[in-house]
């Protein structure tokens, strides 16, 4: 069943929570809502579910206007960030509760609960109570309850945030499998760009209650429509540099660099350059053009086999995600190389002009 939001706006006491959201999600698709905390992910989901009613706009589900239909009469389900189960019911009764309310026959309930529990690996826990379970098992129970009733729309509000790293990975893999074989419309909220990419499907970028961009996850990542989208979708966020193209050179701060061939068609004026942290290189490039910038090291965070290097160039903060271990002292002066082929060029207003995947033909006249 498809979901369509039409100019959905939510205002509470003069404060805008969701600002004219327009969205079309197709039946059977897996959609990720990506945005920082307080971007309005939960609010948007509550509007989709019918837990809140928009102040303006319509919500269509499968071609029917569901805006004023209470949640009880919609066929939706939701998994929260907190582990929400009925503590006074056993795991079996927790999972069975939506079926019991729908007056499904007892044998059928038994079969479907067992099937769903088996799918999520909690079939041995059916007799226990939620308090006797670990966090991961509690969340699996909540997920089983959401999946058992074959809802038209399943909402996941950062379901894996409160779980430990390992568990999160394995549940994420399972989620993809669960939904690959279903024709349910799923919406999944997360703050982590990596999670959005790993889950695939469609990504909807949210910022301050507005939908910034939506589309297939990989496409949104490779071709962010503007600077906001580019900095939302990436962790650490994309590096942004103010640049001026004038007199056949590219000026970044006081630095004057020869204008790369790829940007010859760009008109003279101010631009913003975006380069993702993993494209920043300490060594000169073997092939292709690059911008070379002097920087000062602020801090080098060293992980197991990677280094996050935080630097400044003329008071502009930059981050590099480098493979391998680089022990660099604070305040050490360095030169970094930014490959032009991997750079985004934005208008000063934020609109995308050039992206690495796009040839320079889209340049402004």
């Amino acid at each position: 069943m498809s979901l369509q939001l039409e100019d959905v706006t939510l205002k509470v006491r003069g404060e805008t929570y969701i600002d004219e959201a327009n969205l079309q999600l197709d039946s059977g698709s897996f959609n990720v809502l990506l945005g920082h905390t307080l971007a309005g992910k939960t609010t948007l989901m509550r509007l989709m579910a019918g837990l809140d009613t928009p102040s303006r706009g319509r919500v269509w589900l499968g071609g029917r206007d569901m805006t004023d239909v209470p949640v009880r009469q919609r066929n939706v389900s939701m998994v929260y960030q907190q582990f929400i189960n009925y503590p006074t019911l056993s795991v079996f009764d927790n999972i069975a509760s939506p079926l019991k309310q729908a007056k499904v026959a007892r044998a059928e309930i038994q079969r479907r609960v067992e099937e769903t529990a088996h799918m999520l690996g909690i079939d041995h826990l059916l007799g226990r109570f939620p308090q006797a379970l670990s966090g991961g098992q509690q969340q699996r129970t909540a997920m089983a309850r959401a999946l058992v009733k074959d809802a038209d729309l399943v909402l996941f509000d950062e379901p894996l945030v409160n779980l430990d790293y390992k568990l999160r990975e394995s549940l994420r893999v399972e989620m993809r499998k669960l939904f690959a074989s279903r024709d349910t419309l799923a919406v999944y909220a997360t703050t982590e760009p990596a999670e959005a990419l790993a889950l695939g499907g469609t990504t909807v970028l949210l910022k301050e209650g507005r939908i910034v961009q939506s589309g297939p996850s990989g496409e949104v990542y490779r071709q962010p429509c503007n600077m906001e989208a580019a900095s939302l979708f990436g962790e650490p966020p994309i590096n942004l540099l103010a640049a001026e193209i004038a007199g056949g050179e590219c000026r970044i701060g006081r630095q004057r660099l020869p204008l790369p061939a790829a940007w010859q068609r760009l008109a003279e004026g101010h631009y913003r350059l975006g380069v993702r942290p993993h494209h920043v290189s300490l060594a000169p490039l073997a092939t292709g053009e690059a911008l070379c910038l002097p920087v000062q090291v602020r801090v080098a965070e060293i992980g197991g086999s990677e280094t996050f290097l935080h630097m400044t160039h003329d008071e502009i903060d930059l981050v590099a995600h480098l493979g391998g271990i680089h022990e660099l002292a604070v305040d050490q002066a360095l030169e970094i190389h930014l490959p032009c082929a991997e750079m985004f060029v934005f208008e000063p207003g934020g609109e995308l002009l050039l992206s690495p995947a796009l040839p320079a033909t889209a340049a402004r006249a």
Binding site: L51, V71, R72, Q82, Y86, P87, T88, S97, Q101, K149
Partner: protein, 266 residues
Amino acid sequence: MHVRKSLVMLLYLVFILVPIYWLINMSLKSNQEILGGLTLWPVAPTLDNYRVIFTEPSWYTSYLNSLTYVSMNMAISLLVALPAAYAFSRYRFLGDKHMFFWLLTNRMAPPAVFLLPFFQLYSAVGLFDTPIAVALAHCLFNVPLAVWILEGFMSGVPKEIDETAYIDGYSFPRFFVFIFIPMIRPGIGVTAFFCFMFSWVELLLARTLTSVDAKPIVAQMTRTVSASGIDWGVLAAAGVVALLPGIAVIYFVRNHVAKGFALGRV
């Protein structure tokens, strides 16, 4: 240090248990022994006093009267306070915080203030000397307390549980009775205990609003002066029996009662 601490505790325990011991001690003595001189334990133990309590109708009916209006009061307070507390814990409405505080201020008035209006009102409508009269009068003090305690317990339940239930297809009444009430069962127990505690020991209203038919045990105990003087032994036995329901009730809520004293906000 450890020994000194235990000693202090022991002394304290003895100190608070002495009156209770003395009550039990008296209840097992005859009047002659009580008035005869100091004996630390009954020299000639007797159950005669208890026999009087359980055979004389004026005694045992007064127990039944007390239990009747206390149970009525607990039931009414809970039935009224459950929806009220739910509203305070889940909804925001105009003046909700002021109203919530105002509820508690009801308990600041001394019961004596309400003696006259209650007496006149109940006489006029024909409720005087009935258990329901006392039960309703006690509601004035118990309902606000019940709302406060239950609201604390209810606010401890995340509102996502309510929403999950609606998503699962529960109607509000079904959710409230089958999901929500079982979740705050300890809170309901504690609330019932606090209502019991007030209603069972309250003397002034209970005595004023009753005369013969609904005379409560606390009133009966203050009216035992006869021509032959005070019947000490029977009175002591009545006191011991009056302690028993309290012991029974506190046994059931012993694990949650501290949270109740904090009005459910621990």
